[in-house]
């Protein structure tokens, strides 16, 4: 008990105490004797690479998975929830990375889902709206409780989920990668909110890949590797590089490869491209051997830009690839054949067909008319080896892989088809550091071999570390590219958040980032 109360506040009562928990999936041991404790008002970061056991631990706490052994106590009482509903009733709520809101219901209906105030058979709508409004107000948010959830931004949905947890009486909140799809301001707002929750005595478990952010917000940390706790303690007493080496079990070295690419002729020219409401104007050119980065906040039109170039969205304006007109007039198939390939930002919903095997996923582009499955698997095996994908083999369904390995498969599809123009949308989102490093190396090698790479990302350090030139996307407008040596984190951020002259009418993306 002594070592567990060694938090910065020795008077706070221990809310959650987990001891010696093990989890088995079939014959794979996901957790081996994991223990941690959490006090009221404490925010503990749980960090580790993908596949280290973070999700398994959270799933045990949230009642999604039953541990094979171990003991859990919540507020001093034995805790073994049968399902997430029971976990929530007993006081633990989980906010998943993929937010779960019902898009056709209103904010109030979503917040009160499962705990609706009723009188007999009938719903007490006024009471429901009032509870929802006060729960949101307590979080400092003024989201309209009558708005449909489909109209909310990601950060608003996140607040909605936190409100759902607090109004249900949860005292322990588990947040899984809460900032992965948030802009910098939204992240700052979320941190402000988390500090407020801590002051009110909530205990928070916080899972994240963003170590810099974790350092800002967490009081304590627990590092998992291969299903074991390999380190824990007070955040104030640990350095970033120590966390990284605990996570990896080794030193990482420099995360970003040094970039010195020889720039060749233009291969992609985009002129006055526009599409729908989100993308109003983009013009640039990409050269052979060059890595271009586009930074933009959520809703800035960066994804629409890539989709328009890749003929997935209808667009106006002109696109020329290797001197030939492209854009909406050509088919996606023709683009792949011509050596252009895209990685989607949404790996599970678009990038990969997760129920299909790795081999089949790689073969979807330019499938032979007739084929032998063994041959496809043999070809895929080459790429699995080359990219050190951790998988049981090319016939394994993609959903069984970790996020980092899935992303490597998505990248392998481009390499396997000898693509020389890479369009990459958030290529390292939700990917562990080890895989990130590999993906950066791949991009670097491809550019070194003469490929042209366009990366869209909301993670600025990676763009600064990886790209030759960088541009900002702001409310549908692509600003001019500049060499990375001439930009700073500050200059990029101010460009991304500055009002765009002459575009006052297009303010809906602005309100979306506001709470």
């Amino acid at each position: 008990m002594e070592e567990q109360t060694a938090n910065e506040n020795p008077f706070a009562p221990t809310v959650l105490d987990v001891r010696n928990v093990s989890v088995l999936y079939g014959n794979v041991q996901a957790l081996r004797g994991v223990g941690l404790s959490l006090c009221a008002g404490e925010l503990r970061a749980v960090i580790g690479e993908n596949g280290a056991g973070k999700s398994s631990l959270m799933n045990v706490l949230a009642g999604l998975v039953k541990p094979a052994q171990g003991e859990m106590r919540l507020a001093g009482l034995s805790y073994s929830p049968a399902d997430p509903g029971e976990a929530r009733r007993q006081g633990i709520s989980m906010i998943h990375q993929e937010l779960s809101v019902a898009p056709h219901l209103t904010v109030a209906e979503n917040i009160m889902l499962g705990i609706e105030p009723v009188s007999g058979f009938w719903l007490k709508r006024a009471a429901m709206r009032e509870s929802a409004r006060s729960a949101l107000a307590a979080l400092g948010s003024d989201i309209d409780v009558d708005a449909l959830c489909s109209s909310l931004s990601v950060s608003q949905m996140q607040i909605l989920e936190i409100a759902r947890a607090t109004v249900g009486g949860s005292k322990v909140l588990i947040l899984d990668e809460p900032t992965s799809s948030l802009t910098k301001e939204d992240t700052a707002r979320l941190f402000h909110l988390l500090r407020r929750l801590k002051e009110e005595g909530y205990a928070i478990l916080y899972i994240s890949h963003f170590l810099e952010e974790v350092q800002q917000i967490a009081d304590t940390y627990t590092v998992l590797r291969d299903g074991r706790v390999v380190g824990s303690g007070s955040m104030a007493e640990v350095e970033l590089k120590d966390l990284v080496s605990m996570m990896l079990g080794r030193d990482l070295g420099d995360l970003y490869p040094s970039h010195r690419h020889s720039i060749g002729p233009k291969v992609l020219e985009v002129e006055a491209l526009s599409s729908g409401k989100r993308l109003s104007s983009a013009s640039f050119s990409l050269h052979k051997g060059e890595v271009l980065g586009i930074f933009g906040l959520v809703g800035s039109g960066r994804t629409e830009l890539l989709r328009s170039i890749f003929a997935l969205d209808a667009a106006k304006g002109s696109v020329a690839i290797k001197g030939k007109p492209a854009g909406s007039s050509v088919s996606v198939q023709a683009l792949w054949r011509g050596g252009t390939g895209m990685v989607s930002e949404d790996r599970k919903e678009e990038g990969l067909s997760v129920s299909m095997s790795i081999a089949h996923n790689l073969a979807l582009v330019e499938t032979p008319l007739l084929f032998s499955p063994g041959k496809l698997e043999g070809q895929a095996q080459v790429w699995l080896k080359a990219m050190s994908v951790v998988a049981s083999g090319p016939e394994q369904p993609v959903w069984q892989l970790s996020g980092g390995n899935q992303q490597k498969v998505a990248m392998a599809r481009l390499l396997a088809h000898k693509v020389d123009i890479f369009l990459l949308d958030e290529p390292t989102r939700g990917v562990d550091i080890g895989s990130k490093r590999q993906i950066y190396d791949l991009i670097h090698e491809a550019a070194g071999a003469g490929a042209a790479v366009l990366i869209v990302s909301s993670y600025l350090p990676e763009l600064l570390g990886l790209c030759d030139r960088l541009a900002v996307m702001n409310r549908g407008v692509l600003l001019p590219f500049r060499p990375v040596s001439e930009v700073s984190e500050f200059s990029v951020m101010s460009e991304a958040t500055a009002p765009v002259p002459g575009l006052e009418g297009q303010s809906e993306t602005m309100t979306e980032t506001n709470l």
Partner: protein, 329 residues
């Protein structure tokens, strides 16, 4: 993590996985078969009865092949019963018009394929939800069949077409089962091979498991959908030929509800109505299971209503086991 990549190539894994998928339905089929063998020992296990079951499975089996493709591609086809009826009417009318049997048969199949193409156009081009598009065809095709037939059975001259599903006489006994059954088995093998070894097959799975990925990979989703529904319609046309063979007349009211038997067979066989999963072998097992049940109940004198309840419960059990298995993995 990246230096140690425990890649072990197990080429048999995919096949083992597939086999596991059909293990449940196969066990259920054997169980039901053995139960009936035990309840009516003398006749049920005999070769004659097996032949009867195979002949009875052929029609629902043929439409289920098409339904398997459609369901794997994430769609549904409610119109196949009506397409079967239309096919019988067209074949009878063509025979009456003096067309040779082979061309009458091809005409019936072609009408089915055209009906399927119409479904495909509604789904792929007009973006009508498959359920609604094929509900439209269910009504329209049935109406056309009744119109052509003037709302009565269409008599047709007896030809060799009527022997496709008839019990073999002693001279032809070496064929084991009549030509129609062989044709069904051949088609089943072709569809199974198509699904596993051809581009169309892989793309059917891809469209069913994730349309967005298919689009990103440059797959022509519209074309895949046109193929899928046309094939399903062609199989309904072929099933119409078999139906005509048995009835010896064109009947615009026949095969109503056949689409639901086909869906049941496909689902018992382990397919998912969400798309991306399903197999020909599973579907055939599903169709056989229902045929064995029907034959068995009839032979031990159980009423039709018991059959229907049992079939319903078997579908429920099939889906339940499937869920259980997926939760485990």
């Amino acid at each position: 993590m990246s230096e140690v990549s425990p890649i072990t190539n197990k080429p048999g894994l995919a096949m083992a996985w597939r086999r596991r998928e059909i293990l449940g339905p196969l066990a259920a089929l054997l169980a039901v078969y053995l139960v009936f063998c035990w309840l009516s020992p003398s006749s049920f296990a005999g070769a004659a009865n097996l032949e009867l079951i195979l002949r009875q499975t052929t029609i629902v089996g043929l439409v289920s092949l098409g339904m398997t493709i459609v369901i794997i591609a994430g769609g549904i086809d409610l119109s196949i019963g009506s397409a079967v009826a239309l096919s019988t009417v067209v074949i009878a009318s063509l025979l009456n018009a003096g067309i040779s049997p082979i061309f009458a048969a091809l005409g019936g199949i072609a009408v089915g394929a055209l009906a399927g193409l119409a479904n495909g156009l509604m789904v792929a081009r007009l973006k009508v939800v498959p359920f609604i598009a094929t509900l439209v065809s269910l009504l329209v095709l049935r109406g056309i069949a009744k119109g052509i037939a003037h709302e009565q059975k269409v008599d047709a001259p007896l030809t060799w077409l009527n022997e496709l599903l008839a019990r073999l006489d002693s001279v032809a006994a070496w064929q084991l089962v009549p030509a129609g059954v062989w044709l069904f088995l051949l088609m089943a093998a072709l569809v199974a091979l198509m699904l596993r070894y051809s581009r169309l097959g892989l793309h059917v799975f891809a469209v069913g498991s994730n349309v967005k990925t298919a689009l990103l990979c440059g797959i022509n989703v519209e074309r895949v959908e046109l193929w899928v529904y046309s094939l399903c319609g062609a199989f309904a046309g072929l099933a119409g030929l078999m139906q005509f063979s048995r009835l010896t007349v064109g009947d615009p009211t026949v095969a109503s509800g056949l689409e639901l038997d086909a869906i049941a067979a496909v689902v018992i066989g382990g397919a998912s109505l969400k798309g991306g999963r399903g197999s020909v072998l599973g579907t055939i097992i599903g169709a056989l299971l229902m045929a064995v049940l029907r034959a068995g109940c009839t032979q031990i004198g159980l009423a039709n209503w018991i059959q229907e309840i049992v079939t319903g419960l078997i579908i429920l059990a099939a889906v339940g086991f499937d869920r259980l298995r997926y939760r485990q993995s």
